[in-house]
Symmetry: C2
Subunit: 331 residues, 2 copies
């Protein structure tokens, strides 16, 4: 009482600033979600773990939530956006590499020859990723990604890639954050690529972005100290690599995990196996009209074993066409 009486205006301001998400009235939660099973499961779970005195109450520091990125928070078709970045980079860098005109896999990229590119397989893609993602400092790479994002447009929608996010998932992130969950991205994507835009787009700061990463090497270039991105992969954050990196970097088992593909299976299983309540979600791409429809036979974001696991374990499967009122913010 004494404090509120002394400086009511300052306090109101501070209170609004800090507690805005908690005390805000009127705006409904999760407005882009249909009132179907997934939304109900989310609200029920979050109520259970955040209500003091509830048998399932989870203390704030333990409220770790992990999200895959590609296909879970933003689209991943017709190719992972990071791959589209790499292909654009090959074209931008080609003048500095005359040999690329005649050497695969670079020639295929420069010729827009998708068939020849596909023929170079995983090895070809790894060489393209190495050529475009490594050999520079962390800061220089981040600047390159930023410059690309400012100009690049998605081939189907014509939108900036950062608009290709899922509006219902943005609302879910806000909903959880307001209830003091700590949100992490745990993605097969390269961590330096994601950190450039994750804070602005998702409100997730760099230190809460986990991904695949290259070995960084501390170097002193005439007094300029930098971390240089080498071509040696330090961690492949896919499949079992996801729970492994969560254990290594977060050091706590999450209580909520969302994914969309078989690459998320072990992360979902491991989260589900915690002692106590958990919420496991799968984004199922069923919406050929507003986004894409693919699952068991897709080469990108294959959802097969994880869909069976969801069925067997009663995980929350989001049928994009049925459960989301909107898909992208621009819909």
């Amino acid at each position: 009482m004494i404090i509120t009486c002394r400086k009511p205006q300052t306090l109101v301001w501070l209170t609004l600033l800090l507690l805005g998400p908690l005390v805000a009235q009127g705006a409904p939660d999760l407005p882009s979600w249909q009132d179907t099973a997934p939304r109900q499961a989310i609200v029920q779970f979050v109520d259970a773990v955040t209500t003091p005195g509830s048998a399932d109450f989870v203390a704030i520091p333990e409220r770790i939530a992990v999200f895959d990125n590609d296909g879970t928070l933003w689209s991943e078709q017709p190719l992972y956006f990071q791959v589209l970045f790499a292909l654009d980079e090959v074209k931008r860098l080609a003048p500095q590499h005359p040999d690329w005109q005649t050497t695969q896999p670079f020639k295929a990229v420069l010729d827009n020859d998708h068939k020849a590119l596909a023929a170079t397989g995983l090895d070809g893609m790894n060489r393209i990723i190495a050529a475009t993602h490594t050999g520079m400092s962390s800061e220089a790479f981040a600047a390159t990604v930023k410059a690309w994002l400012a100009k690049a447009r998605h081939p189907n929608s014509g939108r900036p890639y950062t608009e290709m996010v899922y509006q219902p998932m943005l609302e879910l992130l806000d909903y959880l954050r307001a209830r003091q969950f700590k949100l992490y991205i745990v993605s097969g994507g390269e961590v330096g690529f994601m950190r450039v835009w994750a804070e602005e787009v998702y409100g997730i700061p760099p230190e809460q972005v986990i991904g695949s990463r290259f070995v960084g090497q501390f170097q002193d270039h005439g007094g300029q100290l930098q971390i240089i991105r080498t071509a040696k992969l330090e961690h492949n954050d896919d499949g079992p690599g996801k729970p492994e990196s969560i254990d290594a970097l977060i050091g706590r088992r999450p209580i909520l995990a969302f994914g969309n593909s078989d690459g998320d299976l072990q992360m979902l299983q491991w989260t589900a196996a915690r002692q106590g309540k958990s919420l496991i979600g799968l984004v199922h791409h069923t919406d050929a009209k507003r986004e894409w429809a693919y699952d068991r036979s897709s080469s990108i974001g294959r959802l097969d074993k994880a869909l069976d696991a969801a069925d067997q374990n009663g995980w929350t499967v989001i049928d994009m066409a049925r459960d989301w009122k909107r898909v992208h913010p621009f819909d």
Copy 2:
């Protein structure tokens, strides 16, 4: 105003809860620090980067502060406490390993033969660390460390190891936290060892503890999903490994870094090289009476090159005997 009038009591409670560190009156800051140059440098730096409108103002998300652990936040003599843990573990586990009675380096530990142990060198120590730190799940290892901490006592002070922390540094952590710095440990110590007690002792949660680490492997033991600690070192968080892990895991350059030995040099240099103001601190062990006195020729926590660098660059060197009123909380 409307909000304060409606629910004044709730608001006072919420305000105290969230803003307590900011509005608390009376308790002086950094009470265990003498009013000498280091304390003045800390207060001046923190004021500069947290005062809105200051030329050196740093936005809250960028207020990353990194601290070495051994010798910076807690003592590291007569041996790193993690090594003392490993030696105790060899004795505890010996009945399950009859061959250790006759095999080095284990025999030397069991015989309390320091000379023979020293003769096994770094390889011997690595074998002891591997035997005591790997081959079990993360959870099982954490439980072992916890059980050890509950019973083990420091050989000189007879105190629990978690009391061998530096009172002035605990106050510095509180001081920074109250000003919305995000605090990280960045230590050569093994991350799973530190996470067990860092939250309780320093208020630093597991996800803000960075250290050396072993490769974790996701395994399914008859439906029990675990991360098993393998004997393969994934990262040695010492020397250049420190800025490398900060870049890989935090993804931002800190604005404040404290260490105490040459193993911290690159972290300190890299932080100092940021664009904008930074505070670089070195804990200099000058207090043979209350703690230990050692620097350039010590085999543990050698401070030689970093002391020269501090001198050349005007870093803040804390003379433990001169600048700290108290060393440990129990003093």
